[in-house]
Amino acid sequence: MTEFTRADSCVIACAEIYRGDGEILASPTVGSIPFIGARLARAPFEPDLMLTDGESMMVAGLMPVGIVANEKVIEGWLPYRLSFDQVVWPGRRHVVMGASQVSRYGDTNIASIGPWERPTAQLLGSRGAPGNTVNHATSYWVPNHSTRIFVDEVDFVSGLGPARAARLGGTLPEHNDIRHVVTNLCVIDFQSPECAARLRSIHPGVTVEEVIRKTGFPLVIPDDVGETRAPTDDELHLIRDVIDPTGTRLQEVSE
């Protein structure tokens, strides 16, 4: 087995979120590692995924980080408005968003910290998070797992968690589809009886104790927590030599 880094494990976890998704738009919106993961997922196991260049073009092929315009193979046009009409509202998307706060039951906040009326820290605003989380698959990327981010309650619910969707009922449980929270330490999901955050896997080199210490609420810890799977040699080659040869992933997550 070839040696690999924590960042490589994060890339694998960010690729694995798409397994089984088929012909939908993989939509990483934040950071570098989710983009690399989506591009990697399309190579070995989800060849039908669609990807944009981060702006308005849907691009075929491996699309390495930093690809220049005239090397892109454009297979479609997806300006902002069409992304609502053709992708978000029809449910044909799996987004990866950032989160400044993630609650025990999967509510998330990218909008503001403190009271909304006069926040102590105004962040981005809700963006498309309310709509995303009642329309299509949603995962999150948290490159700095800490008790500041994983909190009992979020200050502003911009993204709905599965427990809230279940409680509100109607069509929300059907359309709310929160998959994974990938962090620099582990992968969390909400596959537990009350839709509470559950430790799905820890990245190689991380201990369960470290995850518990850096999470601000009690995680559901199954008896058989495994490690995030190792990249294959083919995947490592694609990550290092083809998709991210300049190593942007290593600036986002170091050991």
């Binding site: 300006p79 981005l124 963006r127 709509g131 619910v157 069509t171």
Partner: protein, 299 residues
Amino acid sequence: MRREGPLSRSGNRISKERVADKRVTEDEIVSEMRDGMTIGIGGWGSRRKPMSVVRAILRSSVKDLTVVAWGGPDVGLLCAAGKVRKVVYAFVSLDTIALEPHFRAARQGGTIEAMELDEGMFYWGLYAAGLRLPFLPNRAGLGSDVMRVNPGIKTIRSPYPDDEELVAVPALNLDVAIVHMNRADRRGNGQFLGPDPYFDDLFLMAAKRRFLSCERIVATEDFLKEGTFHTLKINRMMVDGVVEAPNGAHFTACAPDYGRDETFQRRYARSASSPEAWTEFRSAYLEGDEAAYQKAVQA
């Protein structure tokens, strides 16, 4: 504003004498704005913003505006200059600088009101206004705190057997809309040449008075020299006035004419660090007219 009679054609050439000429100046656009009006601003984040018109607002006495925008430095500048009573937004960002520092200062200082929406709600609200509908139904917003902080936004039940509860996204009716295009003709037809038209047509359709600025005014028959007919998304029925504003979107991106001036954007962002920094930025760039601004940023 000059209006010179109805459209006529002589052969395939459009008569230069008899068609409506909607050319105006930025100051003439702003002269139509009154205190307390709701102003929609096109573009997206720090991309293709009608900044020369925003700068004309900064120079004017108009105040207490409600600003509706996919927020970028347009929102930040207007907040910093004390022109804003309320911002209607789903986000405010400078793209390469994630958080808009002047907007943050205004929110954290409690100096503005806010109406925060989901992006899809924002889109739907503009669309409803353009279609002259009171609302459009959507799932976006359900169960989120966007509904908590907008108690005036109601839900509605489907009248069909599904009985689904949906958000009745209210129309975002505008008094004035301003957008920036790559090209336009003097009659008000507009052309975008970049990768994304954003929602500029919807801003125009949602407004009572509709204005566009452009990098260059061209002859109508020259539109297709630079882009296909698909780029002609704004037609003159949607526009009351047009102003030629070369580099008018500066410092935001205006592909393919120019990219974002990242150096200047960083200077702008630093101007939020203290009242003195803002005063310095303002006196360096914003106290003269548009020609003085363009000269100052070239220096």
